[in-house]
Amino acid sequence: MSKFSKGKKKPSPAISTASLPDIVFMLLFFFMVVTKLRDSELMVKVTTPFATQLTKLEDKSLVNYLYIGRPVEKYKATYGTKPRLQLSDKFANVNEIPIFLERFRVKIPEAQRSKITTSLRVDGKVTMGIVQDVKTELRKANQLKINYSAKKKPE
């Protein structure tokens, strides 16, 4: 009895693919969890500045976003190059902020409304004028919890 018998060839065992769905599902769930489906196309260019003292926004369903930046190439002809505010999927004026906030607020259960955070996604290259107007409007609308969106500064 030899260990290395040359006689009968064993059929090479096929790799079992039975666990493949499990692996793929695992990946799928990972992506589903980390995904935030972008609900609005960005019409302004936003490159957030770098900072170090960052806090993470925990509950994404309690966050609404304001975008401030210069219009992207496509809209430059109609909207110029001055920094503009974008609310959900269109350019807006500062005085439309209260309505925007209210629309968001009614969707949230009353007990959680005090936890709503407004994330200001502002381009680093804009001037403070428009940011200040937005801040004033937020204060008037009593939306005081805000977050200046920023990226982690590379070491």
């Binding site: 693919t17 039975a18 493949l20 769905p21 793929v24 599902f25 990946l27 799928l28 992506f31 589903m32 980390v34 995904t35 935030k36 489906l37 972008r38 957030t48 500045p49 900072a51 170090t52 003292q53 960052l54 806090t55 993470k56 926004l57 994404k60 966050v63 001055k82 920094p83 955070t117 994330s119 200001l120 502002v122 381009d123 680093g124 290259k125 804009v126 001037t127 403070m128 004028g129 940011v131 200040q132 801040k135 004033t136 937020l138 204060r139 008037k140 009593n142 005081l144 919890k145 805000i146 977050n147 200046y148 969106s149 920023a150 990226k151 982690k152």
Partner: protein
């Protein structure tokens, strides 16, 4: 030819071979539509809106740390121009006043930082300055927390610990209405 009974319940199994394909399809859909947004930033609590300006003339000038950022993105701290790299250390020194100097804050609880900018100030500069001021407080809280409880300060600590630290070094940062210089036309 014997007809195989297709209703044989013992050997009837759902073919799971296509499961992987379905999962792949979903996976690719999510891969394509995903934008992993970095939802991080500097959290700020704005003061409630009031029509009249807060009166800071009653404060002793030694307790006020005035930071101005102008439209050229230059920094003026207590009447002297300063580089942003120095701001954090100077702020910490002002708040704790370790050498008991006459011109720095009497106590950390009395220290007030005021930040004022022009409408023409770059947003990036503003965030950097705000970041440094916040960093000064964060570092002081860390140091105090290490001394008292042996751990660094974080939002996960018990409420009583956090409160005792914030009672001793409260973060008071007031932002004045900006001046109109340098606004883009």
């Amino acid at each position: 030819m014997a007809k195989k009974n297709s209703r044989d319940r013992m050997s009837n199994e759902i073919n799971a071979g296509s499961m992987a394909d379905i999962a792949f399809l979903l996976l690719i859909f999510f891969l394509v539509t995903t934008t992993i947004v970095e939802d991080k930033g500097i959290t700020v609590k704005l003061p409630p809106w009031s029509e009249e300006d807060p009166d800071i003339t009653k404060l002793k000038s030694r307790n006020v740390f005035a930071v101005l950022v102008n439209a050229q993105n230059d920094l003026l701290v207590r009447g002297e121009s300063m580089d942003i790299t120095m701001l954090r250390e100077k702020t910490k020194e002002f708040i704790v006043n370790p050498t008991k100097r006459e011109d720095l804050a009497e106590r950390p609880t009395k220290a007030i930082i005021t930040l004022k900018n022009d409408r023409g100030t770059n947003y990036e500069t503003y965030v950097n300055v705000y970041n440094e001021l916040k960093a000064a407080y964060d570092e002081l809280w860390d140091e105090m927390c290490l001394r008292k409880y042996g751990v660094k300060y974080s939002e996960d600590l018990p409420l009583a610990w956090r409160k005792s630290i914030k009672d001793e070094i409260p973060m008071v940062l007031s932002e004045a209405e900006p001046t109109n210089f340098g606004e883009e036309k």
